[in-house]
């Protein structure tokens, strides 16, 4: 299994441990990640700024991957949703595709829609498979209660992303169970973390975040589990700020799924970058 590794912009700059952990864990599971220097921004921040720029960004990246004949693996759910949306639009609108290809041709590229874009959770679930994961997770999490956070842009709009059932998804829960942890039922499970509004409308954004955290705590979770740098940064860095401002009573630390899996595969906490968390996630190790 070889993929063109799309790290995006957020992860390498603000959450490098996510990339680092993903490389280690996926490497051990037999997934080869190819670096592609030409990858640019996926286009997500441009979605409400300039539609052509957003499509061009996504199409350009996919064209690069097409050239090397590799499917793309993304770490970020916002990026994943952006790619899927761009694929959908380009498939439906031939004029748009022609216009985009006209621009891409200047760089010797062309987008033909041949490349699959998958999120790391899908790769783990479908390509690697639960059987392999169960075998790889030699140490199990005993009694750990995890509030699985599916995020928004992978699940929805489900007609386009086809990631999982939008109302009763199970992919992430099963991946979490493979580590021996329990994936709790919580009210706010499928709701937004608030990250898209951070820096834009912090009032609304932090309210969304607090609702999520309070719901997770109310359901008895020990931690949140994410698979997107925006969500993780929101639940870690922004939550830390909310706690320090006294706008949250209790903390609910958040861990990235590859880190959780990595712990169960016996990889050391230092390698997984657990220390980088703003809200201490170390206590989770007591469940091993």
């Amino acid at each position: 299994m070889t993929y063109a590794f799309f790290t995006g912009c957020n992860t390498p700059a603000r959450l490098p441990q996510y990339e680092h952990t993903a490389r280690i864990v996926l490497g051990r599971l037999g997934v080869t990640l190819e670096n592609c220097r030409e990858f640019t921004c996926c286009g997500y921040p441009l979605r409400n700024v300039d539609q052509k720029a957003f499509i061009l960004s996504a199409a350009g990246n996919m064209a690069f991957a097409e050239r090397s004949g590799r499917d793309i693996l993304v770490l970020c759910q916002c990026g994943f949703g952006t790619f899927k949306e761009a694929q959908y639009r380009l498939k439906a609108n031939e004029t748009l595709k022609e216009e985009i290809n006209r621009r891409l041709r200047r760089q010797g590229l062309s987008y033909e829609g041949r490349v699959e874009v998958t999120h790391v959770l899908s790769v783990l679930y479908h390509a690697v498979g639960l059987e392999v994961l169960n075998k790889a997770a030699t140490i199990q999490m005993n009694g750990l209660k995890v509030a699985a956070h599916y995020g928004c842009h992978a699940l929805r709009p489900s007609r386009i992303t086809r990631f999982d059932d939008p109302v009763a998804p199970s992919l992430f829960d099963e991946l979490i169970r493979a580590t021996g942890a329990e994936s709790v039922d919580w009210d706010e499970k499928l709701n937004c973390c608030g990250a898209p509004l951070t820096g834009v409308n912090d009032q609304v954004s932090s309210e969304l975040t607090r609702n999520k955290i309070r719901s997770g705590i109310a359901a008895g979770a020990d931690c949140l589990c994410t698979a997107c740098p925006y969500c993780q940064l929101q639940f870690d860095q922004v939550q830390a700020r909310l706690l320090s401002e006294g706008r949250l009573e209790k903390a609910l630390p958040s861990i990235l799924y590859p880190q959780l899996l990595g712990l169960c595969m016996g990889i050391g906490g230092e390698d997984l970058g657990l220390k980088e968390n703003h809200i201490n996630i170390d206590p989770i190790r007591s469940f091993l």
Binding site: P12, C152, P157, N191, P196, V238
Partner: protein, 594 residues
């Protein structure tokens, strides 16, 4: 005398220029907030900071950076082997020539007892070094052919730098060739250094030099008797050899002398050696004098930038030193274009046609600001927009071979630039602001909110002024184009049958006691208003800037209305402003029809 005059003159201009540039490092600023720190403070902090770095553990980092970044230039190698080879050839070719040849009286003569410029290995090495530099220049010229490297711009400054090096080296080679040929030079040397006055012996020496050393003599051409040559060789070994290795060692000069041989007497008559010497010297001195004002200044600024960034921690450095370093960094930029090659926002640049999105272009514009030049309103807006359309991926910073902390530069400059506009920064109403949001604690509370609040208000006010009171009279039905341009199924709002599911599931609506008051139009109302052609109302709503794009509305719509995507389109339209949208508005057609 001529030589000394020009040497000291150009040294003086160089020194004055250098002093002026360094003065700007300590007194100049890019944005107004940096004026808070005065020149005296900056000089003071620097004078304290530099020894502090030298006499501490950080000196190791300094030496590492000196070795790896300045001498070995590993940052260039990481990006491109071709560029590394090109730059090493130019850099080392020129530097070694400077040390060994230009400064021969100070460097070479002190290091080597037997030094003579026409003696091997120095004679041979001069050719090698010169050839290295020329090869590098050729590689550079090739690289800067239009279209070869994406987004690389070549300006007059870049052309000057390559030209001055080329002229210096090439004139040197031709000078060497002319000197090898020159009979006048040979005669003068014989007068000064030959150990004999005997006419026949001098003839033999001349014969030797014509045959073996490449001199062109008007008196004799050969072929020569072996006996004469043997005699000449003896005299050569006595009087000349101590300082003169075979002319062929200077292989480039010798090659050129062979090429120029047919015109040798003409060259002799016009004193070509003097002319070429003058060109060579003037080129060198002009290059020296003009250095602080040209691209070649990066020879001084770039190592300083690399070294200071090796020891300065942006989180703990004094603002005074950061301000000084940022002025220095503007000079350290050699316009290599690596940052713009690797920039994540390149597709945005291509689609939106704003050159200031590219780091290298933006930096040049900031440099003009820092040098006191005014940018037009349009250019300022381009810089502001460009600096906002930055994904903060930090790639530019990682790849910069001059060690410029671009990340820090953008963050510092951005905060200043986004304040002060009454209409706010509309492009900040996007997830480009995520990184700024994470750094909220570092920005004063009102300064943080101001550009966002002002943008929202400005957009809503602009669109509200376009809303006409009689809009409510139009009813749904019969419309084919939404005027909303881009979403694939933007017209899907026509399927809306008013179930209000979208509003019910919206997590943002759920936050408010009185959502209507807080958000203006609610999601279902926006869909309805589109049906009525009330685009302006939709674009004027506060809901657009509170939507978190979670797609719950679109997911749960029983009629497949692409609610979120339509909202995305409306946001784009709202940011662009009414003038573009009104053309597409269907209202005009209806009014005409009615």
């Amino acid at each position: 005398m001529f030589f000394d005059l020009f040497l000291y003159g150009s040294l003086a201009v160089f020194t004055i220029g250098l002093a002026y540039k360094m003065h700007l490092w300590f007194s100049g600023h890019i944005v107004d907030s940096q004026t808070v720190v005065g020149t005296k403070t900056r000089v003071g902090r620097a004078l304290r900071g530099i020894p502090a770095a030298l006499f501490s553990v950080r000196v190791i980092a300094l030496f590492r950076s000196l070795l790896l970044d300045v001498v070995f230039q590993r940052r260039i190698l990481k990006e491109s082997a071709y560029r590394w080879a090109m730059h090493m050839l130019i850099f080392w070719g020129f530097m070694l020539l400077l040390l060994m040849h230009a400064l021969e009286n100070w460097v070479s003569s002190s290091l080597f007892d037997d030094y003579a410029s026409t003696l091997n290995p120095y004679f041979f090495l001069r050719g090698i070094f010169g050839l290295m530099a020329v090869a590098g220049v050729v590689m550079a010229v090739y690289r800067r052919q239009p279209g070869r490297v994406p987004r690389l711009r070549t300006t007059a400054a870049d052309r000057y730098a390559l030209c001055i090096i080329g002229i210096i080296i090439l004139s040197g080679f031709f000078l060497e060739g002319a000197k090898i040929l020159s009979y006048a030079d040979f005669s003068r040397m014989v007068e000064d250094y030959a150990d004999t006055d005997d006419a026949q012996e001098l003839q033999a020496l001349e014969a030797y030099w014509v045959k073996e050393m490449g001199v062109f003599s008007p008196n004799m051409k050969g072929p020569f008797e072996p006996g004469v040559i043997r005699q000449g060789l003896e005299l050569h070994e006595m009087s000349c050899q101590a300082c003169h290795s075979a002319s062929q060692s200077a292989f480039v000069g010798y090659g050129l002398s062979l090429a120029m041989r047919p015109m040798a007497s003409v060259l002799e008559d016009m004193a070509a050696v003097n002319i070429l010497w003058t060109i060579h010297i003037l080129a060198c001195f002009f290059g020296l004098a003009f250095l602080p004002f040209s691209k070649m200044f990066h020879i001084i600024a770039t190592p300083l930038s690399l070294l200071s960034n090796a020891v300065m921690d942006p989180r703990r450095s004094y603002p005074a030193n950061i301000a000084t370093r940022q002025m220095l960094e503007l000079d350290a930029c050699a316009r290599c274009g690596t940052c713009s090659l690797r920039c994540s926002s390149v597709p945005a640049f291509e689609a939106m046609d704003n050159a200031a999105i590219l780091p290298s272009e933006r930096l040049q514009m900031l440099k003009r600001l820092a040098n006191g030049k005014r940018l037009s309103d349009g250019e300022m807006k381009a810089v502001r927009d460009g600096i906002i359309i930055c994904t903060n991926c930090d790639r530019c910073t990682v790849v910069c071979p001059s060690g410029i902390d671009l990340r820090d530069l953008w963050v510092n400059v951005r905060e200043d630039l986004v304040q002060g506009q009454a209409e706010g920064q509309s492009l900040m109403l996007s997830t480009f602001s995520f990184a700024r949001g994470l750094q909220k604690e570092r920005i004063a509370a009102d300064a943080y909110e101001r550009p966002l609040r002002a943008a929202r208000q400005s957009i809503m006010d602009t669109w509200r002024s376009c809303c006409e009171p009689q809009d409510a009279l139009f009813t749904l039905g019969g419309k084919s184009r939404s005027g909303v341009g881009f979403a694939h199924n933007a017209d899907s709002f026509l399927s809306c049958f008013g179930c209000q599911n979208c509003t019910t599931v919206c997590p943002v609506v759920a936050q408010f006691e009185n959502p209507q008051a807080a958000l203006g139009l609610l999601p279902h109302q926006i869909m309805y208003s589109l049906g009525l052609g009330l685009i302006e109302q939709a674009c004027a709503s506060e809901m657009l800037w509170a939507c978190t794009t979670c797609y719950q509305c679109q997911e749960h719509c029983p009629q497949n209305v692409e609610v979120t995507d339509i909202l995305y389109d409306l946001k784009v339209m709202a940011l662009k402003g009414p003038s573009k949208a009104v053309e597409q508005s269907p209202k005009r057609h209806w009014q005409q029809a009615a």
